[in-house]
Symmetry: C2
Subunit: 129 residues, 2 copies
């Protein structure tokens, strides 16, 4: 895939997350996907995302910055959302917080094969003080 | 700059950090550089790095993954190092820890104009338990 093609494909993946269109997830995520070193597979990946939406009902993925060099995409995602209970081990408990995630993806045959994600936990802690 | 040129330039910037060659930093970092929303300027950026090396004498920047789409670079950096005291608000106190930083850079005229960095603080916390 070219850079414009992969960039567009990444945007469509993010749209799938925001629509919670779990039936389409497998078009974008490889059967044997690995997330932060854990071999989740697409079923485990879907379960992780579904749990995220239960923990954060107003979850929305916004692409603040994207860098694409096939077969890799890096994105800075921004979240403005309201975790209902604990989140990342922090007692957020219904506070609305603003934070970012810097995440790298390796794509293979048009699907995400591996993900390396870091969420800005320190930014959330600063908002809870 | 092309993707290969900017990728090489980024590697040279990382070499400057690892050599603590602060006299050369201005070749790679813009006078008015902004880091995580703070207008540090190159002097403030140099001071931040010098303080990092005082806090972590064995600090070494290793590029685990790089995604380059001019004028942007995204990198996943890996650290295996020994903060002497507190680090990111955590009592590391001479423990050797392993963690990553996912970081985005916007370049302008061959120098870094803006940086958006997230360090995996949760990974360090897990190693201190």
């Amino acid at each position: 895939m070219t850079t414009p093609e992969l960039s567009l494909r990444y945007r469509r993946y993010i749209d799938v997350l925001n629509r919670q269109d779990w039936d389409s997830l497998g078009e974008y995520v490889a059967d044997d996907v690995v997330h932060n070193g854990r071999a989740l597979g697409v079923a485990g990946y879907r379960a992780m995302l579904a749990q995220d939406y239960r923990d954060i009902p107003d979850l929305h993925f916004a692409i603040e910055r994207m860098v694409c060099e096939p077969p890799h995409v890096a994105a800075r995602l921004r979240f403005h959302c309201t975790p209902v209970g604990r989140f990342l081990g922090l007692d957020v408990n219904g506070r609305t917080v603003d934070f970012t995630e810097n995440v790298f993806y390796a794509w293979r045959d048009g699907r995400i094969a591996e993900v390396w994600s870091v969420i800005d936990k320190a930014a959330i802690e600063a908002q809870l003080r």
